[in-house]
């Protein structure tokens, strides 16, 4: 488990945690917070004594899980910028259950790092702490001009309101990862629409009751919400000075009704995402497909090594036949904090890890298996190699198409954690037959709106 934990830098690390215990991690988080309190204090005093303009500058860079071989990344940087040292801080060795907890606490305690990389879905929530630097305000940084370097939809996820609060690193466009051999064995066509996907799921489970087409987890609302994104759901929008919250919108309800059919037919697993049971079922061929993000090949290879060579990738089954629309699950961004004494250098580093081609071809793609939001890096040779796990398929051709068809202007809203956990709680009730998925979405809407209003946020409902 920890293997793919460390490999996937973006969202999955959040769920990939082995059942090691939130409590222990929480204690570890506290211990770490205390440790950084000490080192942070030492660091800021030395940072304060050196003049910002002269002498070597040290930037703290916060990442949530260990980057394998991170030295390679930092060496690349220091070769180009010998005067700017990067101090990498890893928050949790095992991937925290609530990965942003430590950073949120650090921000509150006024010892935020200079730069951090975390899941883009939490970016607006971080912006509400008032601690994230609007990169447009960095003098001489010319951050707005970077737009043309990035996939347009990914660029829209780091813009919150009028501000530019980060630079996108990777993205998680959805594709259908499926077991080619099982599809042939059970004589199933590769679904191109979600209706076909449902029919295939039911047909497959009828042919062999021990095999399922897919899984609907309740400990992570991300896959559901990414599917809804593809269907056209826009749960949060900024309109003037207030949030328009529409979690139970028609597109999301369509997803709910479709998945409900699978639940009613008991033709879908409901295992926790990244649980060992789920991994075991994948490895033993009980799961025939996974609708997942661009980072999926990494974890797939590590949880299901026995299935090597039997997989293939196809485009995401469409909600509207004949279209090409996708959504994103996960993805991360580099963020600079207001408290930094060196905003210019911090922005430079953020640019480096998001747009430097060497970083992409030598580090992100081969070592972390993530998919770039940077347009030039998408053409990297590292992405055109055939994958042996996928029987020699050039998987990134399919993934790239999905990436280009992700719809723009999806906003995760200012209370992403509350939204996701609330939805997960109701999803749990829905898969256990206590309500329908559509009802779960409506309850989530009600609950999240009430939560936001209580916090004083201006909220409109459609």
């Amino acid at each position: 488990m920890s293997d793919h934990d460390s490999r996937t830098f973006s969202l999955p690390a959040r769920q990939a945690a082995a059942p090691a215990g939130r409590r222990r991690r929480y204690l570890a988080a506290i211990a770490l917070t205390m440790a950084t309190a000490l080192t942070g204090a030492a660091c800021s005093s030395s940072g304060g004594s050196t003049d910002a303009a002269k002498g070597p500058v040290t930037l703290t860079f916060w990442v949530k899980t260990p980057f394998p071989d991170s030295k390679a990344l930092l060496d690349l940087w220091e070769k180009q910028h010998p005067d700017i040292k990067i101090k990498m801080e890893i928050v949790s060795a095992s991937g925290n259950t609530i990965p942003q907890a430590k950073l949120l606490l650090d921000v509150k305690a006024d010892r935020a790092p200079d730069i951090a990389a975390f899941d883009t879905q939490y970016l607006p929530q971080f912006v509400t702490t008032g601690s994230v630097l609007d990169l447009k305000t960095v003098s001489g940084g010319n951050a707005s001009a970077l737009a043309s370097n990035f996939e347009a939809w990914a660029w829209s996820t780091v813009q919150v309101g009028d501000g530019l609060y980060g630079l996108p690193i990777d993205s998680g466009p959805l594709s259908l990862y499926y077991r080619k051999d099982l599809f042939e064995k059970y004589d199933l066509p590769v679904p191109t629409t979600m209706d076909e996907y449902v029919q295939s799921s039911i047909a497959l489970h009828k042919k062999d009751p021990s095999v399922y087409m897919g899984n609907l987890p309740t400990n992570d609302a991300s896959p559901f919400n990414a599917l809804a994104w593809a269907a056209g759901s826009r749960p949060f929008k900024v309109e003037g000075k207030s949030w328009v919250v529409d979690i139970a919108n028609p597109a999301a309800l369509k997803v709910a009704d479709t998945m409900q059919k699978l639940l009613d037919e008991k033709a879908v697993l409901t295992l926790p995402q990244f649980s060992s049971q789920w991994g075991q079922d994948l490895n033993t061929g009980k799961v025939a497909s996974w609708i997942s993000a661009a980072w999926a090949p990494g974890p797939l290879e590590s949880v299901a090594p026995k299935t090597k060579g039997k997989w293939a990738v196809a485009a995401l089954p469409q909600w509207t036949p004949g279209t090409a629309a996708s959504g994103s699950w996960g993805g991360s961004s580099a963020v600079v904090f207001k408290s930094t004494e060196h905003p210019k250098e911090a922005l430079e580093f953020a640019k480096f890890i998001t747009t430097n081609q060497q970083v992409w071809s030598n580090y992100w793609i081969p070592k972390i298996t993530i998919y770039p939001t940077n347009l030039k890096a998408q053409k990297s040779e590292a992405l055109s190699k055939p994958s042996s796990f996928f029987g020699g398929q050039k998987i990134y051709d399919t993934i790239a198409e999905s990436n280009h068809s992700v719809a723009r202007d999806f906003n995760y809203g200012p209370v992403a954690n509350e939204w996701f956990t609330t939805q997960q709680n109701y999803l749990s009730q829905a898969v256990n037959g206590k309500m329908t998925l559509a009802e779960a979405l409506k309850e989530t809407q009600k609950s999240v709106v009430a939560y936001m209003r209580k916090q004083g946020l201006s909220v409109q409902e459609p």
């Binding site: 059942p19 939130r22 222990r24 606490l105 509150k108 207030s242 926790p272 916090q455 004083g456």
Partner: protein, 328 residues
């Protein structure tokens, strides 16, 4: 007990007038200073580690994190008085969590106590053999840290790995999902009973050891059998210990956290607000909302307080904490 305590000051009181007054006062003062000196380290730590955190939680809970408009300007702490408590007690997540624990506690607490008492009495009985071995064996689960216990049981529960599930399958009883929505609470209860019995048994057993042999001997001479001695002689005498273990168990149940958090990794039926403690955790570390988390924690403490004192009142007579009137 009560008679000796009562008689002691009376004898001292009678001696008092015989002593001269002034040197006694000075001595008293010196003694008092010394006493406070010795007490100071404890009082400081007690205040710093007990009253301060509680006070701070109470103080924090009176505020609310508030935003403005879109929320991008950061948050402010606004004084809202007790309104967060209204929020907590009217949130279905909270009272559902509390009801779930009550429902759970009604089964688990008597079970833990019952088994603990039974084991203690059995160990204490004349018929027991290999006492030391069994005592160690009963206590062993308690020495396993709660998180580890939950992990171990998690492996035994997990459908694909569970020997329990494969046993029911091979017996033709069908596949039992021990972490499904129907059974998961029972599975958590099982871990608690497994881990909790040993400790409680030890306390009751220790109390049993302090019963004078003559009392038991007298009962035996009067013709009481082992079972009768256990129920009529021993159990009433160790009742204060039983009440204390009951109190611990009730409070422990209300603080349920480790087991559901760990099982939530393998179960689709445990939500992030399954118990009030989990809800407080998510509020603080997921939503970055300490004031609400403080309010949830204080509310839970209040409920624990009410239940504990309710339990003490209910069992006051049995435990001998309130002296029966007729002896006075």
């Amino acid at each position: 007990m009560t008679t000796t305590l009562d008689s002691a000051p009376r004898t001292r009181g009678r001696e008092e007038p015989t002593r001269s007054r002034r040197p006694r006062l000075r001595q008293d003062r010196r003694r008092r200073v010394a006493a406070y000196g010795f007490l100071a380290p404890f009082m400081l730590l007690f205040a710093g580690l007990f009253f301060f955190p509680i006070g701070y939680a109470l103080y924090t809970s009176l505020y609310r994190q508030t935003f403005d408009g879109l929320g991008f300007g950061g948050s402010e702490l606004k004084f809202v008085g007790l309104s967060s408590y209204v929020t907590v007690f009217t949130t279905p997540d909270f009272y559902n969590g509390v009801f779930r624990l009550l429902e759970f506690g009604v089964v688990v607490v008597p079970l833990i106590l019952g088994v603990a008492i039974l084991l203690a009495l059995m160990l204490d009985s004349r018929l027991a053999f290999m006492k030391r071995l069994f005592r160690a064996a009963f206590v062993l689960p308690y020495t396993v840290p709660g998180v580890i216990a939950a992990l171990l049981w998690g492996f035994l529960y997990q459908p694909g790995l569970s020997p329990i599930t494969s046993a029911t399958e091979s017996l033709g009883l069908g596949s039992v999902d021990l972490v499904g929505s129907g059974l998961v609470l029972g599975s958590i209860g099982n871990i608690m009973v497994w881990a909790g019995v040993g400790f409680n048994m030890l306390i009751v057993y220790a109390a049993l050891q302090s019963i004078p042999a003559s009392v038991v001997e007298a009962a035996r001479v009067d013709g009481a059998g082992e079972i009768r001695i256990a129920l009529r002689i021993k159990l009433p005498i160790v009742m204060p210990a039983v009440v204390m273990t009951g109190l611990f168990t009730i409070i422990g149940t209300l603080q349920l956290f480790n087991e559901p958090v760990i099982l939530s990794k393998i179960s689709n039926a445990i939500s992030s607000n399954y118990t009030p403690n989990m809800m407080a955790y998510n509020a603080a570390y997921g939503n970055n909302d300490e004031p609400l988390s403080a309010a949830i924690s204080v509310s839970l403490a209040l409920i624990a307080f009410v239940l504990s004192f309710g339990f003490l009142r209910l069992t006051a007579r049995a435990s001998g904490l309130s002296a029966p009137k007729e002896t006075k």
